[in-house]
């Protein structure tokens, strides 16, 4: 089985280490060997870094067409490698990059596709994958049908990079097909959203979710944050709705926080959000829906409308302070 590593600007994506740890575990359970795949150009330092893992091989393809990621070049390079070596499972960190190209790789190789896996279990010859559905309110157990290889992307934070076993992997290079016409032209990059607010150092975070209902509903929340000396953060739907700027986003596509106190207001608790705040010491959840997944990780919870609970909290904090 294979693990495809992701990197950019000379650095591995942290999900690559989690994927190696997951791949080593899966290989042990399947009684097979784990090999890692690295694509790019001038990879020198990355090769030696990745080779320090307990792997049967580190297979490296270097080519100018792979210098910068494009879906076309990645699919073509990996499809031919998969066709010749026929790995049973190929793991990827679940990232914006893998989400973009892995479905096409599955089509090109006739593979089964499992995205955003958070766990797997091996039962005899079968692997059962677990992935969140319906915004994380439920988990689905998914199996591949037939004998096709499985391509699975692993949700960030679902597997621990610390469990990665160190070692010395033999490095092998492999050839990729000659470059075809690129499927896109990269014109450049830009920093999203300019000046960033750094939420990672906040001691107290008041985070709001879709349940807040609108940009005009923030008055009492700001008052609560002021009383608690808290920074205000948000889950992705709030940012996408334009109710708060993007630098307030907490989660897999935003900032990671680890405050002493985390108040989740109207946040359901999709795993993409949870990975950004699970290091919080004390989590309080306020949500109308008692089945919201946020209650599974919260220490204290109030089932209720945040628009009633927040003013009451402001009053309670003020009342006892005076």
């Amino acid at each position: 089985m294979w693990i495809v590593l992701q990197h950019r600007d000379g650095q591995f994506h942290r999900g690559s280490w989690e994927a190696i740890a997951a791949g080593q575990k899966l290989a042990r359970e399947l009684g097979s060997a784990a090999e890692a795949i690295l694509l790019g150009e001038n990879l020198g330092a990355l090769v030696s870094e990745a080779a320090g893992s307990a792997l049967a091989a580190l297979r490296v393809a270097e080519s100018h067409a792979l210098a910068v990621y494009t879906p076309g070049a990645y699919v073509s390079a990996l499809a031919s490698a998969i066709a010749s070596a026929a790995p049973r499972v190929v793991l990827f960190p679940h990232t914006y990059q893998s989400t973009e190209y892995v479905p096409r790789l599955a089509q090109a190789t006739g593979a089964a596709l499992v995205t955003e896996a958070i766990a797997f279990s091996v039962e005899g010859p079968e692997i059962e994958w677990r992935r969140p559905v319906l915004g994380g309110k439920l988990h689905a157990r998914v199996r591949a049908r037939g004998q096709a290889p499985v391509l699975a992307t692993l949700q960030s934070g679902a597997f621990s990079a610390e469990e990665r076993e160190a070692g010395r992997a033999p490095v092998e290079s492999f050839a990729v097909p000659g470059s075809t016409a690129p499927d896109r032209e990269i014109l450049g990059t830009e920093q999203a959203g300019g000046e960033m607010v750094d939420l990672s150092q906040a001691e107290v975070v008041v985070a709001v979710g879709r349940g807040v209902g609108g940009s005009d509903k923030f008055g009492p929340i700001e008052e609560l944050a002021r009383l608690l000396h808290a920074e205000i953060g948000a889950s992705r739907p709030v940012i996408d709705s334009g109710w708060l700027p993007r630098d307030r986003q907490i989660g897999s596509s935003g900032q990671t926080v680890a405050p002493r106190l985390y108040l989740a207001l109207g946040i359901s608790g999709a795993i993409q959000h949870l990975v950004g705040m699970k290091g919080s010491s004390c989590v309080v959840a306020v949500n109308k829906d008692p089945s919201a997944p946020i209650f599974k990780i919260a220490h204290y919870g109030i089932v209720g409308d945040l628009h009633e609970v927040v003013p009451a909290l402001v009053q309670a904090l003020r009342g006892e302070a005076s």
């Binding site: 994506h13 879906p71 914006y96 990059q97 989400t99 973009e100 892995v102 479905p103 096409r104 599955a106 089509q107 089964a112 596709l113 995205t115 059962e128 969140p132 559905v133 319906l134 915004g135 439920l138 988990h139 157990r141 998914v142 199996r143 591949a144 049908r145 037939g146 096709a148 896109r184 032209e185 990269i186 450049g188 990059t189 830009e190 920093q191 999203a192 959203g193 107290v204 608690l228 709705s241 334009g242 993007r246 630098d247 596509s253 359901s268 010491s281 004390c282 089945s291 599974k296 919260a298 220490h299 204290y300 109030i302 209720g304 609970v309 009451a312 909290l313 309670a316 904090l317 009342g319």
Partner: protein, 266 residues
């Protein structure tokens, strides 16, 4: 430009969910359904591009009869016609099977662009429109936050979100598939005139045979993955202390617990 938009109808994200009796999906009875959020933004982007280029938009959706309501809404908002893959053989497929069926329907007409949302709010594989691109052999981009038609109308300039707060600016040649994220524009509301006009707009319902597909090669039968069960996420850690009572009394209790038990506030 002629633009195809792929829409999915999904359970309202606010809805209470119950696991179905067979344990394999949710109970859909009495469940409110809406157009998937990022698909609404894709539709708006398509309507804007069509207006700018005197073109037209065709809405595509795969799903059971209830999906007709989502397509009617797309027609009311300005799509010229719709295609509903409602045949039972199409249903229950994974993202790759659904993408293949949608691509077969899209291929029957001539389009310059396919727009779709980046991810559905129910299954969330984030792979269906990418699979459409793969089937058509067109370039694609996922998680797009800016779409601009370049001079000559033969290419798009796209802004794609990457990790760690960086956006990539790229150019793709048309025809292409573009998967947009929620929040990139301001979806319009349907006018009464639009709703009335929608009633007269055509909705095609091709069968697998109409698309040149074997009924055994679409939907669940063609899927390489299957959901064998759904369940509530496991409870982690010691579990939550729920503070009961009305809002004022729960709030007072919480403040006391945070001060004296957790000792996280002064």
């Amino acid at each position: 430009m002629r633009i195809a938009v792929c829409l999915k109808q999904v359970p309202d994200t606010e809805a209470r969910l119950r696991v179905a009796r067979d344990g394999r999906w949710i109970d859909e009875e009495d469940l409110p359904f809406v157009i998937n959020e990022s698909d609404e933004y894709a539709l708006e982007e398509a309507l804007k591009l069509a207006e700018k280029t005197a073109g037209e938009v065709v809405a595509f959706s795969l799903g059971p009869p209830r999906v007709r309501e989502a397509l009617r809404k797309a027609l009311a908002l300005g799509a010229a016609s719709a295609v509903h893959l409602s045949d039972p053989a199409f249903q229950g497929g994974d993202a790759l099977a659904t993408g293949a069926a949608l691509a077969a329907a899209i291929r029957r007409e001539s389009f310059d662009l396919v727009l779709a949302g980046s991810q559905s709010d129910d299954l969330g594989a984030a792979a269906t429109a990418t699979a459409v691109a793969g089937e058509l052999g067109w370039p694609h981009a996922w998680l797009v936050m800016g779409v601009e038609l370049e001079e000559g109308r033969r290419s798009l300039r796209l802004v794609r979100e990457m990790e760690s707060g960086i956006n990539e600016i790229l150019r793709v040649a048309l025809p292409a598939v573009v998967e947009v994220q929620a929040g990139i524009n301001h979806p319009r509301y349907a006018s009464l005139k639009g709703i009335m006009a929608a009633k007269k707009k055509p909705v095609a319902e091709p069968s697998p045979a109409d698309l040149g597909l074997d009924p055994a090669a679409v939907g669940a039968a063609a899927s390489r993955t299957e959901i064998v069960g759904v369940e509530l996420p496991e409870r982690a850690g010691a579990g939550v202390q729920l503070l009961a009572g009305d809002a004022p009394s729960a709030a007072v209790l919480l403040v006391e617990k945070l001060r004296k038990e957790a000792r996280v506030i002064a």
